[in-house]
């Protein structure tokens, strides 16, 4: 599980996230550096699983920190810092997926307007075809990619990042009961999609 920073910060005497953001709000840029160091990898893993592309994910994480830098005074201590930063990253990731969807629609319409024939790959001759039905990380990522953003967000926060249901409710901004049922439905959908992907192998 990726979310280890909250464990780390309690086992030694390092400042909490909330102390760091308070220091940063008072002009201590070193505190910002520490927050970046603490969160860059966990956020990257979250966003990477969300958008499915590493380079894009890194760009989104950078944008997340840029927004933190520019909007530091918007943070209020009523929320945990981790839920706040994950909210920003999650929203940016969802925006990217929406942008990608629009781009895909555009490219399809462009494709249809030209009279090009397109090749349907012959599955029998696909050298990458793996007859082994072991569930690989790649197939799992493919199944994650098939989930809708709202399912993807909660299942990644719960099962990959290890957030509690209460924290997810704060990050996503929905009631606790909705989070629980959404996580359950997301798991069932992922299971279904994975089953389908395995059958297609």
């Amino acid at each position: 599980m990726v979310k280890t920073e909250s464990v780390l910060k309690k086992t030694d005497n390092s400042p909490t996230d909330e102390e760091l953001i308070a220091r940063f709000q008072q002009g201590d840029n070193y505190a910002f550096d520490l927050l970046v160091k603490r969160y860059k990898d966990p956020l990257l893993n979250f966003v990477y699983r969300f958008v499915g592309e590493r380079e894009e994910a890194e760009d989104i994480v950078q944008e997340t920190f840029l927004r933190l830098f520019k909007n530091k005074h918007y943070y209020r201590e009523i929320a945990k810092f981790s839920t706040w930063i994950y909210t920003i990253a999650g929203n940016l990731a969802k925006t990217e997926l929406r942008r990608r969807k629009r781009r895909k629609l555009l490219s399809i319409s462009h494709f249809m307007s030209t009279d090009k024939d397109y090749d349907i790959p012959d599955e029998d001759s696909n050298p990458e075809r793996d007859t082994n039905t072991v569930i690989t990380d790649k197939i799992i990522q493919q199944a994650i990619d098939k989930l809708s953003p709202k399912f993807k967000q909660v299942i990644l926060l719960r099962d990959v990042q290890g957030f509690s249901y209460e924290e997810i409710a704060q990050i996503v901004g929905i009631p606790l009961g909705t989070v629980k049922s959404r996580v359950n439905r997301a798991r069932l959908k992922l299971q279904e999609d994975l089953q389908q992907l395995m059958n297609e192998q």
Binding site: D41, E58, Q62, L66, I140, K180, R187
Partner: protein
């Protein structure tokens, strides 16, 4: 026995041991008799474990440097020159088009068309500046001499026939 839908809706709670003892035993009873739900439960349990064990990735080595650049504002200038240039070019084209249309409207709707060609360029500039639209004030209409604009073939390409007829009319008016 509870239905398959009810059992499935309780799978995560069952997996995470958050059900009451009664609820738990009702799910267990269902799973012991429904092979399909048992298979789904096993898959979900396997998947959640697999998700937790997905290999973690790390940010690239130059992440901090890139972030610093981005924060200092250099990122936008160094990485998106094409987009900026496109936007700039498009903006210029749009401004030129607006300037041509504005000039066209001014020349066709003017209540006193007769002295237009005879006016000095300064007079035209003054008239353009009196119009309240910011578009007129900002772009090249005020800078261009009227004769130059009237003979500018590029500008006329927008509506060649109409503009040429207007020019002819203006020339006739001057002659008269």
């Amino acid at each position: 026995m509870i239905s398959c839908d009810t059992a499935k809706s309780m799978l995560s709670d069952y997996l995470e041991h958050t059900l009451t003892p009664d609820e738990r035993s009702s799910v267990e009873e269902h799973l012991s008799q429904c092979h399909e739900c048992k298979r789904v439960y096993d898959d979900v349990a396997f998947l959640t474990a697999k998700l937790r064990a997905l290999p973690a990735i790390q940010t690239s080595e130059d992440f901090d440097g890139q972030l610093r650049l981005r924060i200092s504002g250099n990122y936008a200038q160094t990485n998106h020159p094409v987009i900026s240039k496109k936007g700039f070019t498009f903006g210029l084209s749009g401004a030129a088009l607006i300037a041509v249309i504005t000039f066209f409207i001014l020349t066709t709707n003017s209540p006193e068309p007769q002295p237009l060609i005879q006016q000095s360029s300064n007079q035209i500039i003054n008239r353009a500046n009196q119009v309240s639209s910011p578009i007129v004030r900002t772009q090249s209409v005020s800078k261009a001499a009227p004769v130059e604009i009237a003979n500018d073939n590029d500008s006329l390409n927008q509506q060649p026939q109409k503009v040429n007829q207007e020019n002819i009319k203006l020339v006739d008016q001057v002659k008269n």
